[in-house]
């Protein structure tokens, strides 16, 4: 029940909606420049210092819909995103990539993004990387599950690279990195607050109110002690940084529709559990640190989070046959193949409840890339010494070295046979000067509005093919700097 009695009114110069990768850096930059900044975050403020970020407990505290927000389509895709102070940076693996040059070139050519260059992006990255401490695994003892990926790739002569993380130096703790990840709640949010910014958690923004190209006020609901209170926020400038699913939801709910929510892109992912003949203890190792880049930009291979629970979920594709494999859990590890999705996705508002419906149709090209990716991953893991592989497929649920897995290349796996997951969503409000397909200009300013900006994964014009946290932060910093210059 929402109380009408206690309607709060808040005044601020800049309102930042969302405290994830885009929101935190926007708030810190504008607060440091002397603006009065309020960050509102839909989720709670949780101290993640001692919380394993992929544990069942964390799912209930930090994830939107406790981690049950599937993307619906020709196959349902499991999707997770953060809903807490710090957003998805609190639940991700903190893997860090600079924006690839080919993605930037595509955005300039296809979306007419102005004044964007690799040099400029690299300079923004350097600034951010110093703050979040991008670091490599600095031990001679590479975790076994990671070294297996490397052994296989080297035998095949495939390009493989270590991916750094936004994390404090001690990378040899558990794979969950509890307390060591440099998420937004440990970096840019404290920085924003130190510069005079304010943070309001548990505040869900529901609607923007506007007249003559200006947002006049913003409505929201604050939840405190299970009591919901309406809030109205008056701000001179509004930065929407709620991520690729919630930013379009706020805009569509406010009847702002121009190129909003109709171009969702993702990185669909197919996981595989691999059984080796030696003990790996993958649950104690840091996340696998390598990615195979041989097939970039279409296909990426890498290591996945491992716990007996996640292994059981993967094996449960055919639980009756595969459940005994869990006995060998200490000899197992999990890997993935992901593709740079080019299918068609949308965000829609579900009538009556106002919730975001995520829709995505896996394209023929996605299907081919995921099938090829699985064949490549099988080849690599068998080269590394795997004895059996358990893919997240309805059939086959186990693959042996003697099996002809290369048939996946010529005969793609049926889509309904795949059990897919995804952790990256973007492009729901693409930026660029090509107004017929873009929602914002080249610096995140929403078309037709004077004081409304977007600085999150929504504005990334298409799937970048890499973990997007760095790109989100660089683009948000670029937008904030441009705003200050204006």
């Amino acid at each position: 029940m929402i109380s009408n009695k206690y309607t709060d009114n808040i005044e601020t110069q800049v309102l930042v909606v969302g405290s994830g990768a885009g929101g935190a850096i926007t708030a810190a930059t504008l607060a440091a420049a002397g603006y009065s900044v309020l960050i509102v975050e839909e989720g709670p403020e949780i101290n993640t210092k001692n919380l394993a970020t992929h544990s069942p407990e964390a799912m209930q505290l930090l994830y939107r819909n406790n981690g049950l927000s599937p993307i619906l389509g020709n196959t349902n895709i499991a999707f997770v995103e953060g809903r807490c102070v710090g957003g998805s940076t609190e639940i991700n693996s903190a893997l860090w990539h600079r924006t690839p040059a080919d993605a930037i070139a595509r955005w300039i050519n296809d979306f007419h993004v102005n004044a964007l260059s690799l040099k400029e992006i690299d300079s923004l990255f350097s600034e951010i990387e110093a703050e979040v401490n991008i670091s490599y695994y600095n031990s001679k003892d590479i975790p076994v599950n990671s070294s297996l990926l490397k052994i296989g790739a080297e035998k095949l002569g495939w390009c493989i690279e270590e991916v750094p993380r936004a994390q404090s130096n001690n990378l040899q703790l558990s794979q969950f990195d509890a307390g060591t990840k440099n998420s937004m709640s440990r970096t840019y949010i404290p920085k924003a607050i130190a510069a005079g910014g304010k943070l309001l958690p548990n505040c869900k923004i529901t609607r923007l109110h506007y007249k003559n190209k200006r947002i006049n006020s913003v409505s929201g609901i604050v939840t405190k002690n299970n009591q919901k209170t309406k809030v109205t926020i008056n701000a001179e400038f509004i930065f929407l940084c709620s991520g690729a699913t919630q930013t379009p939801l706020i805009l569509l709910s406010s009847n702002i529709k121009r190129n909003i929510g109709n171009s969702l892109k993702i990185h669909p992912m197919l996981k595989v559990a691999a059984l080796f003949d030696k003990t790996l203890n993958s649950h104690k190792a840091p996340l696998p640190i390598y990615q195979v880049r041989e097939f970039y930009p279409n296909i990426t291979l890498g290591g996945s989070i491992f716990t007996p629970g996640f292994l059981a979920i993967l094996l449960s594709e055919d639980w009756n046959t595969n459940y005994t494999a869990i006995k060998n859990w200490k000899k197992m590890s999990m890997y993935y193949t992901a593709c740079c999705g080019n299918g068609a996705g949308k965000i829609k508002i579900f009538p009556f409840t106002g919730e975001a419906m995520l829709l995505y149709k896996i394209s023929k090209e996605d299907q081919i890339n995921l099938s090829k990716g699985l064949a490549y991953l099988c080849e690599l893991l068998f080269q590394s010494g795997a004895k059996a592989l358990y893919p997240s497929l309805k059939y086959p649920t186990v693959i042996y070295p003697s099996d002809n897995y290369n048939t996946f290349i010529e005969n793609p796996i049926p889509i309904e046979n795949m059990s897919l997951s995804n952790v990256h969503a973007f492009s729901t409000c693409p930026m660029g000067e090509k107004k017929e397909i873009c929602a914002t200009d080249s610096f995140g300013k929403v078309y037709d509005f004077e004081n409304l900006y977007i600085s999150d994964a929504s504005i990334i014009p298409d799937a970048p093919g890499v973990n997007p946290q760095g790109t989100v932060m660089a683009l948000a910093l670029r937008n904030a700097k441009h705003f200050l210059q204006e």
Binding site: P56, Q60, N76, G309, S316, K327, F350, T353, E355, A356
Partner: protein
């Protein structure tokens, strides 16, 4: 909560509890107290996960749970909740292996949540670390 509503909620909770238990091992290697703790934790987790689903998915999901309970009647002459554990496994397996992927998808959320909570439960993890053979007996 009105009486009818309470009955529906209780039925949903019981269905989720029974369905979760189909997927987790029998725990004969555990003390009865531990078994109860784990089973309660699994049920509580799965229940709260289903309750956290977006409402537009949650409502049809709960309706399908009712239907799921009744659709065992043509084959077993009893609703799912009245089946013995072997029959429950068989019946659930027929849903899990259905040719229609949307029917298979119905089982997935409960199965995945139950397995995640069970195998990542601190007590089970401790046993897995030290004595996987005991668990293997129940698998």
């Amino acid at each position: 909560m009105p009486g009818n509503q309470k009955l529906k909620e209780d039925l949903i909770n019981e269905l989720i509890k029974q369905l979760s238990r189909v997927f987790i091992p029998d725990n004969t290697f555990l003390d009865i107290e531990y078994t109860k703790t784990i089973e309660n934790d699994v049920t509580e987790f799965v229940n709260s996960q289903i309750a956290a689903m977006p409402f537009f998915l949650q409502l049809p999901y709960k309706i399908t749970l009712f239907i799921f309970n009744l659709l065992s009647i043509p084959s077993y002459k009893k609703p799912f909740l009245m089946l013995d554990s072997k029959q429950k496994r068989e019946y659930v397996s027929s849903w899990e292996n259905n040719k229609i992927s949307k029917i298979r998808d119905f089982i997935k959320p409960i199965r995945s949540c139950a397995l995640l909570r069970y195998f990542d439960h601190p007590i089970v993890l401790r046993i897995l670390e030290s004595n996987v053979e005991a668990l293997a007996h129940d698998l």
